[in-house]
């Protein structure tokens, strides 16, 4: 059977499960901390043959208390304990199985800055970037690069309390007016040159295979800076794309250097037809890519999970 851990309402996971079932294998879906015991049981019986992980989705028990701070800390404590068990299972019993995906735990997170450096060393073009601490420097960069964007250094912010809601995961352009409103000194902020683009490329990489889409976000203003902000009425054009051979080789090298056998990569194609690397997302959703390109990636992943493990 294939062990499945993903977000509960994920359509892509349902398709994966369907393909696995069509091959004649069983699935074992886990989401709760209490499921860990069942995993250990199935592991000891030698029943787990492969693992599919997609995004977060582990549900942690809710502690009945009126104090939100206490609630938060208790959850973190229980969560970290559960993560320790997961990590142990993956370091031991589940280690040699065919697997798709990565566990969404802090130890597995990619550092964006390290990735950019690794890409640069492989000869991939990357946008100018700098970690900025002062308003004056930000003004200088704005002048040099003309248009700049701000990206989260890690995962962005998502704070919801009784008093405030602060969320921000998207990339945003920073105007001179914005800068004028900033403090003189601020916490480290990732600033990148806004690279002019004619279209974006989203690449899904899985075990040396590449599936690519060109995303034409420029025609529609809502998606110009961040293509995830898509217009529902006339959605941005998404069509299959063939990466030049040299770029394919560099992507494979980069993924091998980052020890990832799965992930989504973003590129920009400039008006001069240069390919500029933006980032790797080791938890990227590939369902939309599979559908837009009619790639049937879900079927390929399921087939891989149902072939006998490496051992």
């Amino acid at each position: 059977m294939v062990l499945i851990h993903s977000r509960q309402q994920d359509d892509t996971t349902i398709e994966i499960i369907q393909w696995i079932r069509s091959i004649g294998k069983k699935t074992f879906r886990v989401n709760k901390v209490s499921d860990l015991e069942d995993i250990s049981l199935e592991v000891s019986r030698g029943n787990i043959e492969a693992v599919y992980l997609n995004g977060s989705g582990m549900l942690y028990p809710r502690i009945e208390t009126t104090d939100p701070l206490l609630q938060y800390h208790l959850r973190e404590y229980l969560k970290n304990d559960a993560i320790a068990v997961w990590q142990y299972l993956f370091a031991t019993y589940l280690k040699n199985l065919n697997a798709f995906g990565n566990l969404p735990f802090p130890g597995n997170m990619l550092n964006k800055l390290n990735v950019l450096e690794a890409a640069k060393n492989l000869g991939l073009a990357i946008p100018g970037y700098e970690i900025v601490y002062k308003r004056d420097r930000m003004n200088e960069l704005k002048e040099t690069w003309e248009r700049i964007i701000c990206k989260p250094l890690a995962d962005g912010v998502s704070i919801v309390t009784d008093e405030v809601i602060i969320t921000g995961q998207y990339t945003e352009e920073i105007s001179s007016k914005d800068i004028a409103g900033f403090e003189d000194i601020f916490s480290p902020t990732l600033i990148q040159q806004l690279v002019a683009k004619i279209f974006e490329i989203r690449v899904f990489f899985f075990r040396e295979k590449l599936y690519s889409l060109a995303l034409f976000s420029q025609s529609d203003r809502t998606s110009q800076i961040d293509s995830r902000l898509n217009n529902l009425k006339s959605p941005q054009r998404q069509v299959p794309f063939i990466l030049p051979d040299e770029l394919q080789d560099k992507i494979k090298l980069l993924m091998s250097e980052l020890t990832l056998d799965y992930g989504s990569l973003d590129f920009i194609v400039t008006p001069e037809n240069n390919f500029v690397f933006l980032e790797v997302n080791p938890y990227g959703q590939y369902g939309f890519l599979s559908k837009s390109g009619n790639f049937y990636i879900e079927k390929e992943i399921a087939e891989y999970l149902c072939t006998s493990s490496k051992l």
Binding site: E15, Q18, W19, R21, S22, I198, A214, F216, S219, S234, P235, R237, Q238, V239, P240, F241, I242, L243, P244, N273, K291, S292, G293, N294, F295, Y296, K299
Partner: protein, 358 residues
């Protein structure tokens, strides 16, 4: 307009040639654009050329028309300009589905005395995902509740209800049903006094009433423009399969297991044979591979890959490759006419004994 940069069609916008005119099927935005053959020729034979080159190829006699065509293509975002057209492949039109059965139609009337638990068990064994329930007579709410209860914990995750109006139930009751059973994804009540539409409060499930009365399965099989679906899944499936019958199973009012309730072939009765067993009977998949390219007239129609189909009511009963009877479109004249009064169709209408021509 960029006269000097090669143009390329977006891969999910596919031109299709008909007998008299062509269409552009925008599979991403679910639109079908009518275009003349001349434009079909330009986009298919001159793809990768610049507008300037195309104009020259026509000896600059049609520059104005060509500019007008490209204004349209740009306006609808059907094409783009690029110096690297070789990096944009065509859309792969392969089609696949994990299981033999994706959809089931279950017909009910006052005589249908079905064991819903065993039906749903069969559908679960087939990994069937979609169920459409069509009720021709008013049935008590408890019938639908027992059906929906039987669907819990099965692979049947999307259930559409098309039911006869029931004096004992008002819209509130249907709304409650939708919000109690999360697998219900739409309700249509036919034979209602007025046309209403709303969404359920909790799950926002669309509920509508129509005045039209559905007496039995002979109401099905209509071909209309608003049934067209322009998306990759349908377009790809239509290349090789029958988009109405492929991967479908059904149970008619009498409990007969069929590919479609309107078709004559029976593969056993639900009281004596299970659904998975029925699908193994010879001939069960007889119609699945009849794509539009094999059907008379349809194969010349520009709408062939975005259209529905019907093999139960055809113009020449006995010829399973003839045009759907209930299609009023003629791809040779490009006209839509009322099919039911068409003199050439009267013999077939009589053959099928279609009393209500809806």
């Amino acid at each position: 307009m960029r006269q000097d940069t090669p143009f390329k069609i977006f891969a999910n916008c596919i031109p299709v040639k008909g007998a008299t005119r062509s269409v552009f099927c925008d599979l991403q935005r679910n639109k079908v654009h009518l275009i003349p053959h001349a434009l079909y020729t330009i986009v298919t034979e001159h793809q990768g050329c610049t507008i300037k080159q195309i104009k020259a190829a026509f000896e600059n006699k049609y520059d104005e028309y060509i500019d007008e065509y490209f204004q349209f293509l740009e306006g609808e975002e059907l094409i783009f300009y690029t110096e690297m057209p070789q990096l944009f492949p065509d859309l792969d039109l392969k089609w696949d589905y994990p299981f033999e059965i994706s959809n089931c139609i279950l017909d009910l009337d006052g005589q249908s005395n079905f064991d819903f638990t065993s039906i749903l068990l069969g559908l679960n064994q087939l990994d069937c995902k979609y169920l459409e329930v069509r009720g021709y007579t008013a049935l008590p709410m408890s019938v639908y509740e027992s059906l929906l209860n039987a669907a819990q914990n099965t692979t049947v995750t999307s259930i559409t209800l098309i039911l006869a109006d029931n004096d004992d139930c008002d819209l509130e009751d249907w709304e409650n049903l939708c919000d109690t059973y999360s697998r219900v994804c739409g309700v249509t009540i036919h034979g209602h006094a007025e046309q209403l539409s709303r969404h359920s409060a909790k799950f926002s499930i669309p509920i509508k009433t129509v005045t039209r009365i559905l007496n039995d399965e002979t109401c099905c099989g209509n071909i209309k423009e608003h049934y067209f679906t322009s998306n990759t899944e349908t377009f790809a499936e239509a290349q090789k399969y029958n988009t109405c019958l492929n991967r479908k199973i059904s149970i008619d009012r009498g409990g007969n297991i069929k590919n479609c309730p309107s078709l004559p072939e029976r593969f056993g009765n639900i009281h004596s044979i299970s659904l998975p067993e029925a699908t193994k009977q010879p001939g069960f998949k007889k119609y699945w591979g009849i794509g539009k390219d094999q059907i008379a007239v349809c194969k010349d129609c520009e709408f062939r890959y975005v259209c529905t189909d019907c093999r139960a009511y055809v113009e020449e009963p006995g010829n399973i490759y003839s045009k759907p009877l209930k299609c009023g479109y003629d791809p040779y004249t490009c006209e839509w006419v009322e099919w039911s009064t068409h003199p050439m169709k009267q013999a077939a209408i009589e053959h099928y004994n279609l009393k209500t021509l809806c």
